[in-house]
């Protein structure tokens, strides 16, 4: 039972990918893809319910006991990422009904999209470092395909840079895994915690930790490793860039959070101190880069970078409050950022371009879209009572509690500059009249295109508002997630199967051959 719960969120997108690839020439493919995304969401929510009930749950694949086999684990952080992945996946699957042209569908868009979701979900659920590498690759190869699908010159150019830098980071990560195995003799994350702590050569462990930090840092797009992101995220279709913006960099952040709370905690004064300054510079360079841009999606791309800084800062400060803030930020950011990219797609459909100098008039002719832009945009900047306010509040409070005033100042200052960029988009795309002299009214996009594009935007905006007005359950959830990250005893014991009392708790409703962590 438990292993099925853990496998389904990964297996469903893969199965869907196979079916929609076979159906790529038929118009029914997109509906199958949508159905698969709904099923994924159901499976993820089922997993969430199980985690809320039992705490950390784990399953050994093929019944190879940990640490020898591959373990799938879901703790609070992992499961919330899985759910949010499924939500983003469903939102973009609906959006794609309106946006993705048939020509691109026939190239296999939906299959690549589903494997991307499977790869991301797998990365969130795995409890094995080498398996994490494999999921990264599944995610990467699908993202490569999605990025260049359509084959315009901009996309190929962006693809070259994206592929080149991401492959280098993968190899750094892979070498890190090799050395980590050489030092500790294990690859299971829970097992690694003790093995790394007991390793004789702690200097070498720190070197390996830095290899992991660089490898994940490129994926997460932190300073100074982010150059692939603004070079590529504005080129693919809007549904693709929304899913990239929402999920891909966050996998890097998640991996950093996982490895630097579970495994590499021996030299926190060194590794996490580096992360603090990296985060501060990431926030600053991202937001300053955005200030210099005049393209809707390029501004948003640079803002991904600056927001990544807040999340890694939550990890770097390494207090319960800070990590809680980081987790909360992660969830809030995925919703908001994906939504902003979706809005930019609608703006492009109505006003004809994403260059802010060439569009305008959206407020007058499409006030509903304008309202839907304001919600995520102000949430991103941290306006109360939207979700971004609470996320920023937690991070800033954590840095003040540590008397780290410079960091607190940077975090607040970056929020201010974020408002600057958002008002720039607002002023140029929404307020000023359209330079070509026409009104970008909603009916410039036919209903069958516009309606599926608007549904996910409304849904995600509603989620932002709900988190903003009722932050209590989400904050509590993040608090438990942070507690589990800072004290991973339960995680380790569940994975390695040394928790007999928990076993008896869950025994009645599980198959004996699929029991989590049962040791023969």
């Amino acid at each position: 039972m438990m292993s099925w719960l853990l496998v389904m969120p990964i297996a469903i997108p893969f199965a869907t990918a196979v079916v929609v690839y076979l159906l790529r020439m038929s118009p029914s493919g997109r509906w199958v893809s949508l159905f698969g995304s709904v099923l994924s969401l159901v499976a993820s929510v089922a997993l969430l319910v199980a985690v809320l009930e039992h705490g950390v749950i784990a399953a050994q694949m093929s019944n190879w006991d940990a640490p020898f086999g591959i373990t799938l684990v879901a703790d609070y952080l992992g499961v919330v990422m899985v759910v949010i992945t499924a939500i983003t996946g469903l939102a973009t699957a609906i959006y794609a009904l309106g946006e993705i042209p048939e020509r691109v569908e026939k190239l296999g868009y939906h299959a690549l999209f589903q494997t991307l979701i499977a790869g991301v979900t797998g990365a969130f659920l795995t409890g094995d470092v080498f398996n994490l590498y494999v999921w990264f690759e599944v995610m990467l190869i699908s993202s490569f395909g999605l990025l260049v699908l359509g084959g315009s010159r901009e996309q190929l150019d962006a693809g070259i840079k994206y592929v080149a830098l991401n492959l280098v980071s993968t190899l750094v990560f892979l070498s890190g895994i090799g050395m980590l195995y050489g030092v500790t003799g294990t690859l299971n994350m829970a097992d690694l915690r003790e093995a790394v702590a007991n390793a004789e050569n702690q200097g070498l462990i720190t070197v390996i930790a830095m290899l992991f930090m660089v490898g994940f840092g490129v994926k997460a797009a932190v300073f100074p490793l982010f150059f692939w992101l603004p070079a590529s995220y504005h080129t693919p279709s809007f549904a693709v860039s929304a899913v990239f913006a929402g999920l891909l960099t966050k996998v890097g952040v998640y991996a950093l959070m996982r490895m630097f709370t579970l495994v590499f905690v021996g030299d926190v004064g060194f590794t996490h101190e580096i992360l603090i300054w990296v985060s501060a510079l990431t926030m600053l360079t991202g937001v300053l880069g955005a200030a210099a841009q005049t393209d809707f999606r390029k501004i948003l791309s640079f803002h991904i970078i600056s927001q990544i800084g807040y999340m890694t800062l939550g990890l770097a400060l390494y207090t319960p409050l800070a990590i809680m803030g980081g987790v909360f930020y992660l969830v809030h950011h995925i919703i908001v950022k994906a939504n902003l990219f979706l809005v930019s797609g609608v703006a492009n459909k109505l006003a004809g371009h994403t260059d802010l100098n060439r569009i305008g008039g959206l407020y007058k002719s499409s006030p509903f879209l304008a309202a839907l832009f304001v919600i995520p945009a102000f949430s991103l900047a941290g306006f109360p009572p939207l979700s971004g306010f609470w996320a920023k509040y937690l991070i800033v409070k954590a840095s003040i509690e540590l008397d780290n005033w410079i960091i607190a100042f940077v975090a607040l200052f970056v929020g201010l500059l974020t408002i600057f960029s958002m008002t720039k988009i607002w002023g140029m795309a929404f307020w000023k009249p359209h330079p070509d002299g026409y009104d970008p009214t909603p009916d410039r996009a036919p209903d069958h295109v516009r309606v599926p594009m608007m549904i996910p935007i409304v849904g995600l905006a509603a989620m932002t508002i709900v988190i903003g007005f009722f932050p209590e359950p989400f904050v509590q959830f993040a608090e438990v997630a942070a507690t589990q990250l800072l004290d991973p005893t339960q995680y380790v014991e569940t994975v390695l199967g040394a928790r007999p009392e928990a076993l008896f708790e869950v025994q009645p409703d599980i198959q004996p051959d699929a029991a989590p962590g049962v040791r023969p």
Binding site: I160, A164, I177
Partner: protein, 120 residues
Amino acid sequence: MEALTALIIGLLVAGAVYLMLARNFMRFLFGLILLSNAANLTIFASGRMTLGAPALVPYGAEAPLGEVGNALPQALVLTAIVIGFGLLAFTLALAFEAYRRLRTMDSDKMRYAEPKEERE
């Protein structure tokens, strides 16, 4: 043997870095292939070197007798090779398509997705 392997890995990385610093994307790709092999060798070496002792279980026994080579890094390397091959094949195809459409392999001249150096 360890020293020799370490030396080879070092040479591969040095060659890879040299190639990857070139502007020509094909040279970068060749560098990437060398780097990928260096990473694979690192994993292989991290499993410790054992000479002439394959991890085979003799007939009738339940576990290998005596010291045998570590089979796990070999499985990891195999996975990494397969994945690396797929990714590099994709990159090669991408490079070819980029050359066909952009008519250049010089990464400095690939400025379609980003603003050109000189502002118009």
